[in-house]
Structure formats: structure tokens, C-alpha cells
């Protein structure tokens, strides 16, 4: 027994030191090599930048009506995408409509991720009775189909962009909380959390340093997939007259008002729908790309 291996130093890597990479660096590198994600990111960047800087793009006034220029085709008198049923510039309305649609698509997801994530992480980390109470309340909301719930809540609160954001947030909170709870429950039972608890660290410290960094990824992936859903449902609410009110520009609302002109100017009438489609699909594909980029053993 005394002749056992001498106090050998650990076998160190030979010679060169390769740069060490953290999880998010790896994810970023993998994302930047994914052509689909890059293409989607480019399209979205264009749409988002156009929406953000709409007033400075030199577009026509999106609210200026003209009875003589109604439903004109593409390229008519400088109206690149034609005019709508009240003679307003379509390009301008689509860009301004993007502001409202992206806003109502994005904000509820951010709010729901914060609220639902917090609820889910707390429920998952504390477990036991707390988990039971929080998750059963969540389940009540979860029992309703999301569109129906959004319509019902918006119907109660009344039309308006703020109310539709509130209702969409309420719709997404349970879904995010579910994901957060299940991921947290899994991470919570990992040995490294026990090891951290064994240092005598407080629950908040363990949560912040060890649990949060490991549950954030899956939650973000899920939240990113909700953005496209949120844009579609928000447009749906506007279409039903429960979201943005006329004369404001919004893709869903435009789809509704142009509906009557579908036989006269079909191409113009489907433009807002195409925008909704492109935007939500790009968000969806980016979310898929993010998910596979994060699917690394790291």
C-alpha cells in the first residue's frame, strides 16, 4: 500500500492554452453560424428599425386621407405600396402599424417572462406546499385556451392597446411559470445546488448565483417563441376590435378595415397579413435557432 502512486500533480494540458469559453459565448458563436437565424435577424432588424425610426424616414402622413386616391395600386403617384380604403399611404401605415404591433407583441412577453419566471422559479425552488399553492392557481388560467382567454379578458377590460397588453400578459404568465417551475425543479435537485447550500449561503444567494443562471436559458427560449404568438394574438384582438382603436395604424386593425376591399384590391388587403406572417415567422425561426444553439452540453 505504501508504494501507491506518489502525490502526482494533475495531468495538465500540454503546452498551449486554448481560450476558455462560457456558455453564452458558445451560444453566440453557434447562432452567428446559423444562416436561417442570421437571415431572420436581418429581416427583423429592418422591421424593428423602420418601426423605431418611422417619423424620420420621410414617409407620408399615415393618417392623411384622400377620397380621390382610394385603393390605388402599387407605385401610384409615389405611393410605393398603393393606398388603403381611405386613401392613406400603405407603406407609411405598414411602418407605423409595425410600431403598434411589435409593441403589443413584445411588451406582454417581457412582462409575462418577469412575472411568470419569478413565480415559477420561486415555486420550483421552494417546492412542497408553496409549489402546490402557486402552481394550482396557475393551472386555473392554464385551463383556458389562450386566444379565448385573451378575448375574454380584453372583452371585460374594454378595447385599447393598454388593455390588450394586460390581457396578453395574463395569458402568457401561466405558460412561462410552468416552464420556469419545471426547469427550476430539475436544477434545484442538482448536486451543485446542494453543494452551494452546504456552504451555508442564504436561499437568495443560492438562487441568484446557482439556480438563476441555469434556468434563464430555457425560459428565454420559451419566451422568444411566445413573441410570434403574441403578435398574432394581439393582431387578432385588434382585428376583433378589442385592441388598438381606429384611426391608429396596427396590422391587425388594418387587416380588419381592408377586409371589405378584398375583392377590389386583394394585394393591398393582404399586405398587413403578410407583415404579421413575416414578423411572427422570423421570431419563431429565431427562437428555434436559439433553442438549438443552446442545446450544448455546457
Amino acid at each position: 500500500m505504501s508504494t501507491a502512486v506518489a502525490t502526482a500533480p494533475a495531468p495538465t494540458a500540454s503546452g498551449f492554452r486554448r481560450p476558455s469559453t462560457g456558455f453564452w459565448q458558445t451560444v453566440g458563436r453557434r447562432l452567428s453560424r446559423d444562416p436561417v437565424t442570421l437571415a431572420c435577424a436581418a429581416i427583423l432588424l429592418l422591421i424593428v428599425l423602420a418601426a423605431l425610426f418611422a417619423p424620420w424616414l420621410g414617409l407620408d402622413d399615415p393618417y392623411k386621407q384622400s377620397m380621390v386616391r382610394r385603393l390605388k395600386p402599387f407605385g401610384y403617384q409615389g405611393h410605393w405600396l398603393g393606398t388603403d380604403e381611405l386613401g392613406r399611404d400603405m407603406l407609411s401605415r405598414l411602418v407605423y402599424g409595425g410600431r403598434s404591433s411589435l409593441f403589443t407583441g413584445f411588451v406582454p412577453v417581457v412582462l409575462a417572462t418577469l412575472i411568470g419566471g419569478l413565480l415559477g422559479i420561486v415555486a420550483g425552488y421552494l417546492g412542497g406546499r408553496w409549489n402546490m399553492v402557486i402552481m394550482r392557481c396557475i393551472d386555473v388560467f392554464y385551463a383556458f385556451p389562450s386566444v379565448l382567454l385573451a378575448v375574454a379578458i380584453s372583452g371585460v377590460l374594454g378595447a385599447g392597446q393598454f388593455n390588450s397588453i394586460v390581457s396578453l400578459t395574463l395569458v402568457f404568465v401561466p405558460a412561462v411559470a410552468r416552464i420556469a417551475e419545471s426547469v427550476t425543479t430539475r436544477v434545484r435537485n442538482e448536486d451543485f445546488v446542494d453543494a452551494a447550500r452546504a456552504t451555508g449561503a442564504s436561499t437568495t444567494s443560492v438562487l441568484f448565483h446557482h439556480v438563476l443562471s441555469n434556468v434563464l436559458g430555457p425560459i428565454l427560449v420559451y419566451a422568444s417563441s411566445l413573441i410570434s404568438v403574441s403578435i398574432v394574438i394581439a393582431s387578432g384582438l385588434s382585428f376583433l376590435g378589442l385592441g388598438v382603436t381606429p384611426p391608429n395604424a396596427d396590422w391587425g386593425l388594418m387587416l380588419n378595415t381592408l377586409r371589405q376591399s378584398i375583392y377590389v384590391a386583394p394585394v393591398t388587403a393582404i399586405l398587413p397579413g403578410i407583415m404579421i406572417f413575416i414578423t411572427s415567422m422570423c421570431f419563431s425561426l429565431m427562437s428555434d435557432g436559439l433553442r438549438s444553439a443552446m442545446d450544448v452540453k455546457a
Partner: protein
């Protein structure tokens, strides 16, 4: 085997020197309060029954008796090996000691202070004195932190500044044989299993503990790496004056590293004593069966029949009396009536056994492998 709390009880505050930044070699003599005769750890009646939901017909809750009244002592500076089959409660015992799971009953006296008692030691104080290294080297490191950050987390929690914790982390990494300039910035997935387990050891030592629990810590490593880590553990123990609780199912490794051995079966201690005495002449039939189940290095001494057949009984409803009687080759009617108490084996007072009919000290293990089989 009965130890009492020393009459002159020093208050905790007087005996907790503040560690110098970067110096993890806290003077262990100063922290020693009970003197050399006071055991480091006295565990008595430790119990944990896991509620698995559902009720049996009698209306009682269905529980798994994972740890069911475990008593043992760990002396200062020794290595206590805990062996037993899978599911016998070894790891649960370790987690109960750390209070990662709350015990249902039982007391733990750490160097004369009862843990979680009114005038005793708090759980967070206990955790500063006792640390644990887990089996799964990968799962026990946070994948989002560099190993320097993982090791520095504990010291940071105890109130060291970021720079101090970082310095301590690096000196510990160096101590376990990982060159900080090469390893400190790496993430767990960039290390091998042996290197990760070294990080885990460094992380546990960063709290400057007096007791280290090694829960199957070398079991997942391949043999050559296992030997390196075992030697590292031996060296650290000598340098830092540590006390080890070494849990393993590998009897050869336990033989190599331990001073005393504790054999567990179905959540209870069946035998404990000096390692050489137990390996040479086990007194409990279960221990003998365990020892003779080791594969021999000598082909002429091949095991023909399994020394034990079947699985251990269900810990939800353990057998009456002696729990081993259902698999015991020499069970008699008395064994089913009353559970045997842990008592000194005939002819030895440091060797205790829980059996109505202990084997004689002359009975030897049928086919022991050559000593030194570890190499």
C-alpha cells in the same frame, strides 16, 4: 463508547479564528475545543423516514425507512469508511449529517457541541466545519461558473472580499494539483472527471472544514485516476489535519483509505470497528458476505456462488427483528423476534456488531483478494 460533553465548554466565539486572506490552512489546533479525546462527531439515533405518499390499510403513512436509528462516532483525525449495498442509506446519512436533508430524529454532537440545539452549534456553523464532496463530479459543479468562481463561492459567502476569495480559490486549486493559470478560467465541461473531482475537493476545502464527507467521491473515476485522487486525499488529510467520512461501495478502496469501518444494511449499522479487524475477521454474517463478494485477483480463488442472493428487502416494510435475517445463512427463530442491539463483539471492545449470533473471531473471510489489489 459513551462520550459526554466536556464540563468546561468554551463559547464558540472564542474558538473561531478569522482566516487570513488566501490562507486556508487555519490553525486546526486553535479550533479544537474538546481536546484530542473528544470525538469529532457523535451521531446517535439518526433517523430519516421519507414520506412517499399514500396510506397503507391501517391508516399509517407509507414511509421509506432510509436511515433508521444510526449511531456512530468519528474520532479526530481518523477516516471512517461507510460501506453497504446500494440503497442502504449511506448517502442519506451523509446528507443528514450536512443537514441538506432535515433528520427526523437523532442528535449530532460536533466536537462537544450539539448541532441545532439551544446552546449548541448552528447548522451554518456546522457547515463551515464539515463539507462534502459528491459522487457526480459533473453535476456537482455549476456549468455556468468557471472553476475559480465555483471554488470562490463558499469563501465569498463567509464574508471574504472578492479578491480574497479569488486568492484562496487559486491557492486551493494549486493545492489539489490544478495549475490556476491553466485551469482557473475553465468551465466544468472543459475538464476531465478526475480534474473535476479535484475541483470539488478544492471547493469543499475552501470552507476550511475540519471534517470532509466523501460520498462515493472516487467511485465514478477510472482506476488510475481514482488512485491519484485517493493519494491526494491522503496528502490533504495529513497536511490539513482533516477527518474524513469516506462513503463507498468499493471495499478495496475503503480498506486502503480507512482507519475504521462502518457497515450499513437497510438503514442501520450492523457492524463497526477497526478496518483490519473487520476485514480480517468480520463478526456479522452480512459483513462476511460483503467481503467475500469481492472479486479475487487469484483465478484459483474464483467465487463459485454468490455469497448473497436476491435484493435487500423493501425498506418500506423491513423484516421484523434482525433486518438481515431474510438473507442470513444462519438465521434462527430468535432473529425474527427481537432486533439485535449494537454491542461489543466478544473479545474486543472497539469492534461492535449488531447480531444475536456473531461469528467467532477465528472465522475468516472465504476468499479475500490479495492485499494490495488496489494497484
Amino acid at each position: 463508547m459513551i462520550y459526554t460533553r466536556p464540563a468546561a465548554f468554551t463559547p464558540r466565539s472564542a474558538a473561531a479564528p478569522q482566516a487570513e486572506p488566501g490562507d486556508f490552512r487555519v490553525d486546526l489546533q486553535e479550533r479544537d475545543r474538546g481536546g484530542p479525546a473528544q470525538p469529532m462527531l457523535i451521531v446517535s439515533g439518526l433517523k430519516k423516514h421519507f414520506d412517499i405518499g399514500g396510506r397503507s390499510i391501517g391508516g399509517q403513512r407509507t414511509v421509506v425507512r432510509a436511515v433508521d436509528g444510526v449511531d456512530f462516532t468519528v474520532r479526530k483525525g481518523e477516516t471512517l469508511g461507510i460501506v453497504g449495498e446500494s440503497g442502504c442509506g449511506k448517502s442519506t446519512t451523509a446528507r443528514l449529517l450536512m443537514h441538506l436533508i432535515q433528520p427526523d430524529a437523532g442528535s449530532i454532537i460536533f466536537d462537544g457541541d450539539e448541532v441545532n440545539a439551544v446552546r449548541g452549534m448552528s447548522i451554518s456553523e456546522l457547515r463551515r466545519n464539515m463539507q462534502m464532496v459528491f459522487q457526480d463530479s459533473y453535476a456537482s459543479l455549476n456549468p455556468r461558473l468557471t472553476i475559480r468562481e465555483s471554488v470562490a463561492y463558499g469563501p465569498r459567502v463567509t464574508g471574504l472580499s472578492a479578491a480574497q476569495a479569488r486568492a484562496r480559490s487559486e491557492s486551493l486549486l494549486e493545492m489539489v494539483g490544478l495549475e490556476p493559470s491553466n485551469f482557473a478560467n475553465r468551465y466544468p465541461h472543459e475538464l476531465s472527471g478526475g480534474q473535476r473531482q479535484r475541483v470539488n475537493i478544492a471547493r469543499a476545502l475552501a470552507m476550511a472544514p475540519r471534517v470532509l464527507i466523501l460520498d462515493e467521491s472516487v467511485s465514478a473515476l477510472d482506476k488510475s485516476v481514482e488512485a491519484q485522487v485517493l493519494n491526494l486525499l491522503r496528502r490533504l488529510k495529513a497536511e490539513l489535519g482533516l477527518t474524513y467520512i469516506f462513503i463507498s461501495h468499493d471495499l478495496n478502496v475503503v480498506h486502503y483509505i480507512s482507519d475504521r469501518v462502518l457497515v450499513m444494511y437497510l438503514g442501520q449499522v450492523v457492524e463497526s470497528g477497526p478496518v483490519d479487524a473487520i476485514y480480517a475477521a468480520p463478526r456479522h454474517p452480512y459483513t462476511r458476505a460483503l467481503l467475500s463478494s469481492r472479486p479475487s485477483m487469484d483465478p484459483r480463488r474464483r467465487i463459485e456462488t454468490a455469497p448473497l442472493s436476491g435484493d435487500p428487502p423493501n425498506p418500506i416494510n423491513p423484516p421484523s427483528g434482525c433486518r438481515f435475517r431474510t438473507r442470513c445463512p444462519q438465521a434462527r427463530p430468535q432473529c425474527g423476534q427481537e432486533p439485535p442491539a449494537l454491542a461489543p463483539a466478544p473479545g474486543s471492545d472497539s469492534h461492535v456488531v449488531a447480531c444475536h449470533f456473531p461469528l467467532s473471531s477465528s472465522a475468516t473471510v472465504p476468499s479475500p483478494p490479495a492485499k494490495g489489489a488496489l494497484q
